[in-house]
């Protein structure tokens, strides 16, 4: 299992900023993750973290996501996660991250959900 340093791309779908995460969400991902989040949050709209390209998430990665979530809550930015495998979805539920961020089945669901709640 080769390690793959996280690559982060941010794109917009309407008001929603989508952060595409490709690679490993572990300690090596900290800077890239923060950069992606900052760029996405700067637009002021909801943020969707797209984990479809993230094959590996470990406890340090969970801690980084908790860190992002804390920043988002402080600035009232809404975060949605999508593209999680069944296993990592389970981990998001076990760690109760799912209680503080919406877990969408896919990107479309995440975007429509985010738009909906944002306009509500």
């Amino acid at each position: 299992m080769a390690t793959r340093e996280l690559e982060v791309q941010v794109r917009q779908r309407g008001d929603v900023s989508i952060v595409d995460l490709t690679g490993d969400v572990d300690s090596s991902a900290e800077a890239a993750l923060q950069r992606g989040y900052d760029e996405a949050a700067a637009s002021g709209g909801p943020v969707v973290l797209n984990f479809a390209g993230a094959d590996y998430i470990n406890s340090t990665g969970i801690a980084l996501i908790v860190g992002l979530l804390a920043q988002a809550r402080a600035r009232d930015v809404q975060i949605t996660a999508c593209g999680l495998s069944d296993h990592y979805r389970e981990i998001f539920e076990i760690t109760r991250l799912a209680d503080f961020m919406t877990i969408a089945d896919n990107e479309d669901g995440a975007v429509s959900g985010a738009e909906g709640s944002n306009h509500a």
């Binding site: 299992m1 080769a2 390690t3 300690s27 090596s28 590996y56 470990n58 406890s59 340090t60 969970i62 801690a63 980084l64 908790v66 860190g67 979530l69 804390a70 809550r73 402080a74 495998s85 069944d86 296993h87 389970e90 981990i91 539920e93 076990i94 760690t95 109760r96 991250l97 209680d99 503080f100």
Partner: protein, 538 residues
């Protein structure tokens, strides 16, 4: 005369003027008119010797007709009468007389007088000779004994004074030098990370030279063992050190192994030494690894192998003094006999005692030990209560990883590979992978503090109803925090650090997680039940 010994012959080789020589006098030349002081050499096979010994009275040299170089020389030297000095039937000297000063022939009275003189002088001369011989022998023997004593002191000084106390293991060692002290040695080196290095070696040659090479080998081994992890690399380094200064025709055979007492993993390399035996439930096996003896030539590679000692199993490291011992018929004890003894003994000190008993019975009473005998045994006595799942388990994988960030991925990949045949189901495999990754990271970071010389060992075992993954670090037993449910609210509010998920995740991912520790080691056991395991359920 074929039985003539060197001391005998020497008595006829004395040089210098009669009586002026400090050594026992072999030939006394008297009355020779043209004094020629060089005594005549009589070769051991010269017929003159036999003649003189048989004659037992004064012999008229000119009247003798023998094909004897010595006789010719005697005649040339002007010797007229040769009076054999015989003691206890053995010719111990000759009294050589030249012509009488009066130029008359020797009378029968003269001869009688000389024979009487010879009869009395011979025993006295013999006593003198024996005293000199004994003094010389005693001096040689004393030098030899002193040298042996020095060799013995060097050897014994460098053997370990005590053996380490390893919980769950019985370690025993035995060393008995031959009278002529060979170059055997053994060593037990506790390493800083809780592992223990075991060495058995043999220097060619005997006595002080062997002892000196042995002490040098041991010192270099000790230094290298602390610095280097790989046994093959250790031997490689020792070989490089020894090669430049090794006396010609000397070399060192050596078995070097590193045991992780927590896991039973023994990694070893061998520089041409006798193969150790392992007694397993399935019989006795040899631990093979290729490598040339140390000190022969630089640039050698040493193959490195590993074996896992399960509870109840034991290893015997030994020197060739055991298998090369002979019985009175000159048959060798041999490897098959030793293997048989290993098979019949439980291990530890008892195995050593049995080998010695078998060896004594084989060589017979009163036989002198030919070579040094050295044995070291390691017996895994039991796993302890915490290791119960390991006892009857089938080992699916066992490996070590350097404590470097990212190496948990290697652990995950190898465990995944090891359990591939168990049909655990995708969800359970994923959970196991996460648990293994977290446990390995925890061990590398908190246990081994990401130190290169503190690798993490991982064992994957299949027991009857469960799969067990053991992750062992060498953190000197730093306490592992009890996995508490992290307070996510506090973390999100910035009141707590966002980290601290590893142990919590581990506990949620497997059916059981427990921490055990002994001897500076800490093992995290991850247990997955194999029966009733469903897929996809949280």
């Amino acid at each position: 005369m074929a039985a003539l010994t060197r001391p005998f012959r020497r008595r006829f080789l004395k040089r210098g003027r009669a009586g002026a020589d400090a050594e026992p006098v072999g030939q006394i030349q008297a009355g020779v008119s043209r004094p020629r002081q060089t005594p005549v050499e009589i070769a051991p096979n010269d017929p003159l010797l036999a003649y003189l010994q048989a004659a037992s009275e004064a012999v008229d040299v000119d009247a003798l007709d023998l094909d004897s170089p010595a006789l010719r020389e005697l005649k040339e030297a002007g010797v007229k009468l040769a009076v054999p000095l015989v003691s206890q039937g053995e010719l111990i000297g000759v009294l050589n007389l030249g012509a009488r000063l009066s130029e008359q022939d020797y009378s029968s009275d003269d001869r009688k007088l000389l024979d009487n003189l010879a009869a009395q002088a011979a025993p006295a001369l013999r006593v003198g000779q024996l005293v000199r011989e004994q003094e010389a022998e005693a001096a040689t023997r004393q030098r030899f004994e002193q040298e042996l004593e020095v060799a013995r002191l060097i050897q014994q000084n460098f053997l370990p004074k005590e053996l380490p106390d390893l919980p769950g293991w019985q370690v025993a060692a035995y060393y008995r030098p031959a009278r002529e002290v060979g170059g055997d040695f053994y060593d037990v080196i506790p390493l800083s990370d809780g592992r223990v290095a075991f060495v058995v070696g043999d220097v060619t040659d005997k006595g002080v030279p062997a002892a000196l090479v042995m002490s040098a080998t041991r010192s270099v081994l000790r230094a290298s063992a602390q610095r280097l992890i790989e046994p093959g690399v250790v031997l490689e380094r020792v070989n490089e050190h020894l090669c430049p200064d090794m006396p010609e025709k000397m070399f060192v055979t050596c078995l070097y192994g590193v045991l992780d007492p927590a896991t039973g993993l023994l990694r070893f390399a061998n520089a041409g030494h006798d193969l150790p035996y392992v007694k397993t439930a399935d019989g006795v096996v040899e631990l093979r690894a290729r490598g040339m003896p140390l000190g022969l030539m630089p640039g050698m590679d040493y193959e490195e192998k590993e074996a896992v000692l399960q509870p109840g199993e034991s290893v015997l490291l030994h020197s060739d003094g055991v298998v090369e011992a002979h019985d009175p018929n000159r048959d060798m004890f041999g490897f098959p006999r030793l293997k048989e003894t290993v098979a019949g003994a439980p291990g530890g000190q008892e195995l050593i005692d049995r080998v010695l008993a078998d060896l004594d019975a084989f060589t017979g009473p009163g036989s002198e030990q030919e070579d040094d005998i050295t044995m070291v045994t390691l017996q895994r006595t039991g796993g302890g209560a915490t290791r119960a799942p390991s006892r009857n388990g089938r080992l699916l994988a066992h490996f070590e990883l350097a404590s470097r960030p990212g190496n948990e991925r290697e652990a995950i990949a190898r465990v995944e590979e090891a359990v591939a045949g168990l049909e655990l189901g995708e969800a359970r495999v994923q959970r196991l992978k996460t648990a293994v990754g977290e446990a390995t990271m925890n061990a590398m970071e908190h246990g081994s503090q990401y130190r290169d010389d503190r690798p993490v060992a991982i064992r994957v075992l299949q027991a009857d109803d469960s799969l067990v993954v053991e992750v062992t670090d060498r953190g000197g037993l730093a306490e592992l925090a009890a996995p508490e449910t992290p307070n996510l609210e506090a973390k999100l509010a910035g009141e707590q650090k966002p980290r601290g998920w590893g142990l919590f995740l581990i506990e949620k991912m497997v059916d059981e997680a427990r921490v055990t520790g002994e001897g500076g080691q800490r093992t995290l056991q991850l247990v997955l039940r194999l029966q009733g395991g469903d897929d996809g359920d949280t």
